[in-house]
């Protein structure tokens, strides 16, 4: 499997300019929505009505906007995790497993630790990142030491991570006297601080963390030696080695941090929104991180834009389903066509350049 080739192809997604990285996801999603409009039409539903419901459900009221932002947070974390790894030439498809493991460890710590103020939640977040990071470190280690491609190992580890979490909420972390696979409620002292409240919807501090990490990442990539080292590893491994960069070390550290960021998607959701761990509590957010990263031009700031759109899509799809009966799962069709349309557009563009 030629990874160098993959990374060089991905460069078409790589948008260093912020404006470009904002426009790409929008165009991709528009194409996706147009194709899906045909499926909706075949269902005997007017696509315009359906999409009006979708937009209303996503941002129509303040509460809906808040719910969209609550989906924006985990999508940003996983999108940033995939972006960071990619920038070092590693394809992290394991965000799903990393976030499940992160959520598991964070919940466990939040339930066991009894400390005042927000210390338990801080401790929970940190332990989640360490274990999530370690979960991502394994494929990185296998890649650099054994030459095993990370695409396959991270996918396989997702299933392992999801099953470990499922096992935990069915055994030692299961709420006493309950038959449902879920943990007990987390004490209030271990909840994440809430920064805004609107009726029943609480926006937690995770959103601040998202912006901090995104801007920090952006700054590190383009203004520091670290960022230069990370980017040069993905561009040319041989040249980086020659230039004195410890390629193995860079890849392992970056994957650890990538897993740590992915774990935050799970731990902030548990500590900030759901307050207990349930089996299958956030299916697909890790895989959506890949879509977010690709649509966001593999640029930390573009990721924020793409994550917002995908969050809106996820949230709006509920209203669309209630109003028109179009299943929520259709958003995956939209996302797939968004990616495939960008792939084909850029492939055609490359072909056009080659022929002229």
């Amino acid at each position: 499997m030629s990874n160098r080739k993959l990374i060089s192809f991905l460069r078409i997604f790589e948008k260093d300019s912020v404006i470009e990285s904002v426009i790409t996801p929008i165009i991709g999603l528009i194409v996706g929505l147009l194709i899906v409009a045909i499926i909706i039409l075949l269902q005997g539903v007017n696509p315009i009505t359906a999409y009006q419901e979708l937009i209303f459900g996503a941002i129509g009221t303040k509460i809906n906007l808040f719910s969209t932002l609550l989906k924006f947070i985990p999508l940003s974390f996983t999108g940033l995790a995939v972006t960071l790894a990619y920038r070092a030439g590693v394809f992290n498809i394991g965000a799903e497993g990393q976030l499940y493991i992160g959520a598991l460890v964070a919940t466990w710590v939040a339930i066991k630790v009894n400390l005042p103020f927000y210390l338990p939640s801080l401790l929970a977040l940190i332990s989640g990142t360490i274990v999530g990071g370690f979960f991502a470190f394994i494929p990185a280690y296998l890649k650099v030491e054994k030459g095993i491609n990370e695409v396959l190992t991270t996918i396989l580890m997702n299933y392992v991570g999801i099953n470990i979490m499922g096992f935990s909420v069915n055994s030692f972390l299961m709420e006493k006297g309950q038959t449902a696979p879920q943990s007990p409620l987390i004490e209030r002292s271990a909840h994440l601080p809430i920064i805004a409240k609107l009726e029943g919807v609480h926006l937690h501090i995770g959103i601040v963390l998202v912006f901090v990490i995104a801007f920090l990442m952006h700054d590190i990539f383009w203004n520091t030696t670290w960022g230069f080292e990370i980017r040069s590893v993905s561009i040319n491994i041989e040249a980086s080695k020659y230039g004195g960069i410890n390629v193995k070390k860079v890849i392992m550290i970056v994957m650890f941090v990538s897993g740590a960021i992915a774990s935050l998607a799970g731990s902030t959701e548990v500590l900030g929104v759901q307050h207990r761990l349930m089996e299958n509590f956030m299916i697909g957010y890790g895989y959506d991180g890949i879509t977010v990263a690709l649509l966001g031009g593999l640029n930390p700031l573009g990721v924020l834009v793409a994550a917002f759109f995908l969050g809106a899509l996820r949230n709006g799809a509920y209203s669309m389903q209630i109003a028109t009966g179009i299943p929520i799962s259709i958003i995956y069709v939209v996302q797939a066509f968004a990616i495939l349309s960008i792939i084909s557009a850029s492939a055609l563009y490359k072909k056009f350049l080659a022929e002229n």
Binding site: I148, I155, Y332, L340
Partner: protein, 312 residues
């Protein structure tokens, strides 16, 4: 411990291995063609899912599992063309395309299931493929017993390694595929149409991946649920790497995963006090361990993953 030994030392355990290996074997053997021709197909997962879904729907709707089988082959053909169009014609990246395809398969099957079948209280069942009785095979001791409950897909799956071996070793078509995967430029100069061979190879992979999915529904459970392939496509892909792209190696690889799958099911039915999550992880962990302990890179076709650009 004796319980466990007794549970696995019998014919029904061997039958379970055959049943668990069939979907993987079909997808993995088909994938050999694609990989050998130089096209990665991580889209196996999505192709299997679509195959599982379409065979279920057709069999459910028309009450005819054989018709479902034929439609699935046609759909697999289409899936192959889809993947080949992106990877061979457009020369798009083979991994990204596959990721897009897998998301598409998940979205399409879940959506269409709700549209066509709707949300029901009881899981609707479709007619499954009937047991196929082949006089010669079924009279062989042990083998006959193991195969006695099998449908046509199981026979196809276990014949494919032999057929594939013959194709790759003794036919010019097999030789062309290998040439295209190892050195497309040289193949081209010998008058082999690289893109046509790659299209055919990817189409074969698409058909068998779809059949692998069909063996889960019309050849297995007789019902469909969201994301029911649960990573089997990825495991099949791993089996191809483990099997070093050879029919025999891939056969051994899929059997190994079949054994671990059958073993975990058997332990569950024994009522051993361990939650099922531990058991369901076994095949994935075995796959990971197998990848760690088997060397792989040096065996892959030289042009694997690279689109062929004809230079003048």
């Amino acid at each position: 411990m004796i319980d466990i030994l007794l549970a696995i030392l019998n014919i029904s355990f061997l039958q379970a291995i055959v049943n668990m290996s069939t979907p993987l074997l079909l997808a993995a053997i088909g994938d050999i063609y694609s990989e050998r021709a130089g096209v990665l197909n991580i889209g196996l997962e999505g192709m299997m899912l679509i195959g599982a879904f379409s065979s279920f729907v057709i069999s459910y709707h028309f009450n005819n599992p054989y018709m479902a089988l034929i439609v699935t082959i046609i759909i697999g053909f289409g899936l192959g063309i889809f993947h080949a169009f992106f990877t061979v014609t457009l020369k798009a990246d083979q991994v990204i395309t596959a990721l897009g395809e897998n998301i598409l398969a998940l979205g399409l099957t879940s959506t269409l299931y709700r549209i066509i079948i709707g949300v029901t209280e009881i899981q609707p069942e479709c007619p499954g493929l009937p047991v196929l009785y082949i006089p010669v095979i079924n009279r062989i001791p042990v083998v006959g017993d193991i195969m006695s409950g099998s449908n046509i897909l199981v026979y196809i799956a276990f014949l494919m390694p032999i057929i594939t071996y013959i194709i790759f070793e003794y036919t010019s078509f097999g030789l062309s595929i290998k040439a295209v995967g190892e050195n497309p430029k040289a193949a081209d100069s010998l008058g082999i149409n690289v893109n046509v061979i790659r299209y055919i190879a990817v189409i074969i992979s698409g058909i068998f991946a779809a059949l692998g999915g069909a063996s889960l529904t019309i050849g297995g459970l007789k019902y469909f649920f969201d994301n029911m392939t649960a990573g089997r496509g990825f495991i099949a892909f791993a089996a191809v790497i483990f099997g070093r792209y050879t029919p025999l190696g891939v056969f051994v690889g899929t059997l190994l995963f079949g054994v671990s799958d059958a073993f975990q099911l058997r332990l569950q039915t024994l009522g051993i006090q361990l939650p099922y999550h531990i058991f369901t992880s076994i095949p994935y962990i075995v796959t990971l361990l197998v990848m760690i302990f088997s060397r792989q890179t040096s065996f892959s076709p030289k042009a694997l993953g690279k689109a062929y650009v004809r230079s003048s």
